[in-house]
Symmetry: C2
Subunit: 425 residues, 2 copies
C-alpha cells in the first residue's frame, strides 16, 4: 500500500471508508482493553511472593549492629536495604538513604523541603516567586504534577535520541537563577525509552547553573529494567565528583517494579552534604521507615546480589509483550508514513508519534472501540502536547493475547485518524 | 522521716551526706539503665509476630472490590485497614484515610500542606510571618519539633488535671488569627497521662478561632492503650458536628504501639471537606501506601474486632512496670515534700514533678550513675521547662527487674537534688 502522504483524495476517501468498516467490526466486539497502565502484570508481582513469608519471625528480627526491626529506630534504613538500593544504582550503601514504599513520595518531599527549608542554606524556593523547572518531553506525568503542584513554571526541553537537548539545558540553567531543577529519567525514559548517552550524562554532571540550589532529579526508575542485555547508563556521580559538583544531583530508585508496586522500598542516592541535610529534616518528619519490609527485601534479594537474576525473570515475561506491539505496528504502519515509534531496550513504555494533530483523535477512537490509552498530552507539562502527536503505550499489564488485539486496534485507529487528518488538508 | 521543707540545715546536711554515700554505691554497680525510651518491650512486639506470616500469598491477595494488594492503586487505604483505624478512634471507616507507618509523618505532612498549599482555600501558612501554635505543656517533644521546624512561634498552655487550660486556649484563639493550631494528646497525654474531660473536649469542639484555618491536631496516640479498665475519651467529632465545626479537627492514630513501631499503619480521621482536600494533595505525592501491610493489620485484627483483646495483653505486660515505679516513688518520696507524680491509667509515661529548679540536676545525677532519663526540658517547646521541674519516666521498655532498680535510683537522685537545692536557700 502507498504512503498516505502520496495518496490522492479519492484514494484516501476509499481507504478511510474501508478503515471505518473495520473499525465498526471492532466496536461490535465489546472489547475491554487497557494499554494505559504502566504497572507490572500479575505474573510479575508473583515473582516476589516468597518475600511475604520468608522472613522468619523467630530468627531474623535482629539485624546488623543489634538493630531490632520490630521496634523504633534507624532513621535512614537498615544496611541490607541500603545495599539493595545501592546495587540497583551501582552505588555504595553509604551513599543511600532508604525511605518507605514510594520514590514518588521521596521526590515530592524533596521538592517540598526545597520549598520550605531551602537547600544547603539557600533561600526557600517558596520565596522565589518566578521559580521554574526544566521538563524534558515527552516525560512522566507524575513528575510534572509535582512541580505544577508546587507552583513551578515548567519549561519543555525536547528529547533527542541520546537524551535531552543539552545545548538548551546548559544555556537556560547558566543564565536563569530561578531555574531550580530538572526532571530526568536517564535510563529507558518514560515514555520514550531513551537511554542518556555518555556525552549527555557528562554534560549533566558538568552543568554550571546560575542557581546554587539547582538540582538534577535523576529518577533512575528503570535502572535494572532491561528487556535484553544489560544496557549501561554512564555514572553521573563519577563524573560530577571529578568536578566537585556532586551536590547538584539527587538520584532516586525504588523496587516498585522489582518487588511489589506499593509495597516496595525506595531510596535516594546523594552526596554526603545532601544526605546529611535530608537526615536532619527526616528526624523531624518520622522516627523511621518500615524496617521489617526493608528486611524482606534484604533477605529476598540477598542484599542486592540476586537482583539481576530476578530482573531477567521480569524481562522474560514482558519482552514478548513489547515485541508483539512492535511487530504489529511495524507491519501495519511503517510503510504508510503515518508516524513512527521507538523500539526500547527496557523500561515500561513504547511511544508512538503520529502525524501532528492526530494523537487526541487516536485516543478517542481507541476509547470508543473499548481500549483505554494514556490521555494524549499526559506526557507533557500541563497535559499540553504542542504537536498533539505523542501517545504512550503501556504493554506490561495486559495478557499477550489482549496486547495483540490492542496493537491491531491501535494501528487501525492511527490509520483512520491520519486519513481523516490528511483529508482535512 | 520529716519532709525536707521542715528540716533544719543540719538535718539536711546529714541527709545529704547519707544520700551521697548511697549514691556512690549505685555508681559502683556499673548500671546501664534506660528509662527514656517510650517504646514497647520485646515481649510486647512479640504479641504481633504472627502478623508477619499469617497473610497467605496464595489466597489473600485480592481484597474488597477486586483490589490486588500486590499492585498499584487505592490512594487512601484498603477498607479493612480503615476499619482498624476507625475502631481505634471509635469512628467509621468512611471518615478515615490510611497512610504509611508513621502518624508523626502524617502530622508533619499535614503541617507542610498548610504551609505550602493553605487549608481549605486560605492563604498558605508560609505567608503568615508571625504564625503561632499552641502547645499544652508538658507535651510531646516531637510535636514541638515539627512546629519549630516550620517556624511557628510556640505558646505554652498549662495542663490541668482535666486537660489544657481552656480559658487560655479560648481567649488566645478567638483573638489572634495568626494562631493556626494546637497540639493535643487527649487520652493519656504524653507525658502527663491526663485524659481530657467531657467539659474540655466540648470546649475544644466549640472553639471559635479568629483564624478560619485554625486546626486542632488531636493526636489520639494512646486511644486504646488502657492499663486497667477502658477509659472513655469524649467524642470530639460528635460535639463538633452539632456546631458545624468538624472541619476544625484532624485526628491522628497509629498502630505503632499496637503492632510494630516502624511497621504499623497510621491514619487520619477528619471531616469530608478535609479528607477530600488531603486526597487531592496525596494524589500528587504518592500512588498509594503499603496495602500488603494494611492487609496484615486487617487480617490480624479482624478488621478491628480483635483490637481490644490484643491491647489487654499489652496492658498485662506493662501494668506491673508502671506499678513498681509508682510503689517505689510512693514509698521513697511521697512523705518528703520533694515533688509529686501522677498515676496514669494508660499511655506510656509517668511524669514526676520535682521542686522548682531540680529536674536538670536529677537527670544529671541519674546519668552519672548509669541511668538515661529523657532530658529535662524535652517535654516543652524549645526544650525549655520554665520551672525546671518536669521529668518524663518511660517504664515500658526495660525489664521489671531493671525498672525496680531504676525507680529506686531515681528516688535517690530526686532526694539528693532536692537536698542540694534546699541547702542553697
Amino acid at each position: 500500500m502507498k504512503a498516505y502522504s502520496e495518496m490522492s483524495k479519492e484514494e484516501l476517501l476509499k481507504e478511510k471508508k474501508s478503515l471505518e468498516e473495520a473499525y465498526k467490526e471492532y466496536q461490535k466486539r465489546g472489547l475491554k482493553l487497557n494499554m494505559a497502565r504502566g504497572k507490572p502484570s500479575l505474573e510479575q508481582v508473583n515473582l516476589s511472593l516468597e518475600m511475604l513469608t520468608d522472613v522468619n519471625p523467630d530468627t531474623d528480627m535482629i539485624v546488623e549492629d543489634n538493630v531490632d526491626v520490630r521496634n523504633y529506630g534507624v532513621i535512614d534504613g537498615i544496611y541490607g536495604a541500603k545495599q539493595v538500593i545501592a546495587s540497583m544504582a551501582k552505588s555504595e550503601a553509604d551513599h543511600v538513604i532508604v525511605f518507605g514504599n514510594s520514590s514518588l513520595n521521596v521526590m515530592f518531599d524533596t521538592v517540598a523541603r526545597g520549598m520550605i527549608e531551602g537547600i544547603q542554606g539557600n533561600a526557600p524556593w517558596y520565596d522565589c516567586k518566578d521559580r521554574k523547572w526544566l521538563c524534558p518531553v515527552p516525560g512522566y506525568d507524575r513528575h510534572f504534577a509535582i512541580t505544577e503542584h508546587f507552583g513551578f513554571e515548567m519549561i519543555n526541553i525536547p528529547m533527542n535520541e541520546d537524551g535531552p537537548d543539552m545545548d538548551m539545558v546548559e544555556d537556560l540553567v547558566s543564565k536563569d537563577p530561578s531555574i531550580k531543577g530538572i526532571w530526568c529519567v536517564p535510563k529507558y525514559s518514560n515514555p520514550g525509552g531513551v537511554v542518556y548517552s555518555e556525552e549527555v550524562v557528562k554534560r549533566f554532571a558538568n552543568l554550571s547553573p546560575a542557581a546554587p540550589d539547582f538540582r538534577i532529579f535523576w529518577d533512575n526508575a528503570y535502572a535494572i529494567h532491561d528487556l535484553y542485555e544489560e544496557v549501561h547508563l554512564p555514572d553521573i556521580f563519577g563524573y560530577a565528583i571529578t568536578k566537585g559538583k556532586q551536590d547538584m544531583i539527587f538520584e532516586f530508585v525504588s523496587t516498585s517494579k522489582v518487588s511489589f508496586p506499593g509495597s516496595g522500598i525506595a531510596g535516594i542516592i546523594a552526596s554526603d552534604n545532601n544526605l546529611n541535610e535530608i537526615r536532619k529534616s527526616m528526624a523531624v518528619q518520622t522516627i523511621g521507615h518500615d524496617k521489617i519490609n526493608q528486611l524482606r527485601h534484604a533477605i529476598f534479594f540477598a542484599n542486592g546480589a540476586k537482583l539481576r537474576a530476578h530482573m531477567k525473570k521480569h524481562a522474560d515475561i514482558i519482552r514478548p509483550k513489547f515485541e508483539v506491539v512492535e511487530k504489529v505496528l511495524g507491519e501495519e504502519l511503517q510503510h504508510l508514513d503515518v508516524g513512527h515509534f521507538g523500539v526500547p531496550k527496557g523500561g515500561y513504555f513504547i511511544t508512538y508519534t503520529t502525524q501532528p494533530g492526530c494523537a487526541t483523535r487516536v485516543v478517542q477512537l481507541a476509547k470508543e472501540a473499548g481500549m483505554v490509552l494514556t490521555g494524549a498530552g499526559a506526557p507533557f507539562p500541563y497535559k499540553k502536547d504542542p504537536e498533539d502527536s505523542t501517545i504512550r503505550i503501556a504493554p506490561t499489564y495486559p495478557t499477550l493475547e489482549e496486547i495483540k488485539v490492542a496493537a491491531e486496534l491501535f494501528a487501525l485507529c492511527v490509520r483512520l485518524a491520519t486519513a481523516e487528518k490528511f483529508l482535512e488538508k
